[in-house]
């Protein structure tokens, strides 16, 4: 491990929340509240075509008739949806042709986030589409990608430049009628990422997008649509950080993945939204709908490291429609202090010989509540399909909670479904053993927790794995009781 405790200490001394700073950029903001006029305003700000506005308005109509779901094992004060501003964009002075033209303040922010674009270009070969308060301001590597026919751009650009693809796929995996938050997102989404990998193309680099909430009181409604055409491959990284805030912030994203025949999508997330302070005040509400659909012999793999947010409600899922398709879900969810997480996955087996794997590692500290909720559904036609689920919980204190809610619905007798679950408490004897060997308590906790989560962390691309380890360490600081 290259990251030392000294560095961690310094980091913690210097800032109470790693990315808890606010960038001072002038931004343009919609008045608070939600109605048809606001939606029209968002649509016109983004120069959207009529069909897009119609989609938004239809979603809004549906949303108004829905009510917020209550089934998750979380308690929180419901957001006042009329007290949120639904649009904020950094003021653009002119079209940006190169990084030199980007606001230096914004570049500094990116540096704090650890993404010096110039450096990334040279060193790591990662193309970064930087999303800040909903509007993409810097995109790199576009040319290199476009040589291969890969489209990687902001959602708004895609709406204008690739309307056929957007129209064909948007809402096919997560319809606007799916749930309360996906309906809201469909009505008011501000921006997000769009990615298309053409037939037979193997995307040569990890695609990554950094999302960030920056404007106080602005709900963040990202929308991601990723299409991997036949026999293509892409690995996509999503990292989230948010500045420190007192008031609650709502984040309701929608992510749709489409893996056509024989395609493979690897989607990795490190989520570090502001979790609220040690007393449970503030923090981001993260209500996300992520779902992918698999064609014949295709594969979708979700990997997530969830350390942030006051309340998390998130179930990256796979619809295994094509025969021989594969769905995977690897998750580490950490909750500390008063954080609440209700997260898991849904594996819907429809095609024959479909296979899914679920590895979920929950870590609860402080007075937090950590729940795994997962559905494995084997449809009538899903002959010889297989699922393996493993749900482990690690408790750091005697005041936190770990819960497992597995749902299994099996309609085909040839299917094999396995579920394993364990709960363990971080042991005093483990800590003493480490300390006797000269490893301090904090370092020992980090070592033990990283070991526990290793199966999942190993699935992350290298640069993310390091960041994820740091996050686990920071999230659990002073958490053993």
């Amino acid at each position: 491990m290259s990251y030392t405790e000294k560095e961690l200490k310094e980091e913690l001394d210097n800032k109470s929340y790693e990315f808890g700073f606010v960038t001072d950029i002038e931004s343009e903001k919609a008045p608070i509240g939600l109605n048809k006029d606001i939606i029209k305003l968002i649509s016109s700000k983004k120069n959207e075509p009529q069909w897009m506005l119609a989609y938004r308005l239809e979603a809004f109509r549906v949303w108004q008739k829905m009510s917020e779901p209550n089934w998750a094992h979380v308690k929180y004060k419901k957001p006042d949806f009329q007290n949120i501003s639904y649009y904020a964009a950094p003021k653009k002075k002119k079209e940006l042709k190169s990084l030199d033209e980007v606001d230096p303040e914004l570049l500094r922010t990116m540096e704090k986030l650890g993404i010096s674009i110039e450096e990334q270009k040279k060193l790591s070969g990662v193309a970064v589409d930087f999303v800040m308060d909903s509007v993409s301001v810097a995109t790199s590597f576009k040319e290199k990608l476009s040589e291969l026919g890969i489209i990687f751009c902001s959602f708004s650009e895609a709406v204008n430049n690739h309307p056929d693809l957007v129209k064909k796929y948007m809402g096919t995996v997560v319809p606007h009628t799916d749930n309360y938050y996906s309906a809201l997102n469909s009505a008011v989404f501000s921006d997000g990422s769009f990615c298309y990998i053409p037939k037979g193309v193997r995307c040569p680099m990890e695609l990554s997008t950094y999302f960030r909430i920056n404007e106080s009181g602005t709900g963040q409604f990202e929308r991601t649509l990723l299409i991997a055409d036949e026999s293509s491959y892409v690995s996509y990284l999503e990292g989230c950080t948010a500045p420190q805030r007192d008031e609650n912030q709502l984040h309701a994203a929608v992510v749709e993945l489409i893996a056509l025949d024989k395609a493979e999508i690897k989607y990795s997330t490190v989520q570090n939204w502001y979790p609220g302070d040690a007393k449970g005040k503030g923090g981001v509400y993260n209500f996300v709908t992520k779902r992918g659909i698999c064609g014949y012999r295709s594969k979708i793999s979700w990997t997530q490291v969830e350390t942030g947010s006051a309340v998390t409600w998130k179930y990256p899922s796979c619809i295994l429609k094509g025969d021989h398709s594969i769905g995977e879900f690897y998750s580490v969810a950490v909750t500390n202090n008063f954080q609440q997480a209700d997260t898991g996955t849904k594996m819907i087996h429809i095609g024959k010989n479909t296979k899914s794997t679920i590895i979920s590692k929950g870590i609860s500290a402080g007075k937090s509540q950590n729940s795994y909720r997962g559905l494995v559904k084997i449809g009538k036609g899903a002959k010889n399909s297989r699922n393996f689920s493993q749900c482990d919980s690690l408790l750091m204190t005697d005041q936190c909670g770990a819960h497992t809610f597995p749902y299994i619905e099996c309609e085909n007798p040839t299917a094999t479904v396995e579920h394993e679950a364990t709960t363990s408490k971080i042991g005093e004897d483990q800590l003493f053993y480490c300390m006797q060997r000269g490893i301090s308590e904090e370092k020992a906790i980090s070592l033990i927790v990283n070991g526990y989560a290793k199966e999942v962390l190993n699935k992350l691309p290298m640069e993310f794995a390091v960041e994820a380890q740091k996050l686990l360490e920071i999230s659990l600081e002073g958490s053993v009781g």
Partner: protein, 254 residues
């Protein structure tokens, strides 16, 4: 002229308000091997835990002077950095953490304490190769998770491997022979003997004389009711093997 390594004076300690050590005195010089024997419940394992700094035990009286410094309030990791090593009776499993990563972290934490740079990967791996050969540790075990799925013998051997890597001043072997067959015992003892030098000392806590055939002690102490009630040379261990502890207990009572 032998140099004093550790001096324990009038040591008393409690666990859950129950008195375990009741005025224990012991002096160990560099280059010496001490065996501590005694019946069940006499306080042998407590002594090793207290020396290593386990905070479940409360030191109520006395002092522990290690290399000229009072350590009874010192954290376990600091004691470790200064050269204290405990080979656990029941080595703990740490799933998902490889032996190698564990030891590298341990060494680097110590280096950091002394303001020394982290050990380069190449040197570290060379050291691992040397030391694991010394204690006959199976190559595969080095990359496996710490003690996870190890047999009893492998766990004990791994303790001695860690000891070799950390090169301590004072090694306490807490019933390292328990659960070992005779071949494993020889290998472990052989490892300990190879690590002996004029600069370090070893405390062997055991129930049986058998281990002392292989690790020959300079001194044998009998612990009873939290005190050392008799000390002697290695012949004392043989005597205990024949007579048991009762004759000593009677002596004490008179």
């Amino acid at each position: 002229m032998s140099e004093l390594l550790i001096e324990i004076k009038d040591l008393e300690c409690n666990i859950d308000n129950q008195k375990i050590l009741q005025g224990l005195n012991l002096k160990i010089n560099k280059g010496e091997v001490h065996a501590i024997m005694g019946p069940n419940g006499s306080g042998k394992s407590t002594l090793s835990s207290v020396l290593a700094g386990n905070d479940n035990y409360e030191v109520t009286n006395g002092s522990i002077n290690f290399l000229g410094e009072e350590i009874s309030e010192m954290s376990p990791e600091e004691r470790s950095w200064k050269g204290m090593f405990l080979a656990f009776q029941y080595p703990v499993e740490i799933p998902g953490v490889s032996n190698i990563n564990f030891l590298r972290t341990a060494l680097n934490e110590r280096n950091k304490y002394f303001g020394i740079d982290s050990i380069p990967a190449k040197d570290f791996l060379k050291m691992v190769a040397e030391k694991s050969e010394l204690v006959g540790l199976n190559n595969k075990l080095k990359n496996r998770s710490v003690n996870e799925g190890f047999s009893g013998g492998e766990k004990k051997r791994n303790e001695i491997f860690q000891m070799a890597m950390l090169d301590p001043k004072l090694s306490i072997l807490d019933e390292t022979d328990s659960g070992l067959d005779i071949d494993a015992l020889k290998i472990v003892a052989n490892g300990v003997n190879k690590l002996k030098s004029s600069e370090n000392a070893t405390v062997v806590i055991t129930h049986y004389q058998r281990l002392l055939d292989y690790i020959v002690p300079d001194f044998v102490h009998v612990l009873h009711e939290g005190k050392i009630i008799k000390s002697g040379d290695k012949s004392l261990a043989l005597e205990l093997e024949k007579k048991g502890y009762d004759w000593l207990k009677t002596d004490e009572n008179i």
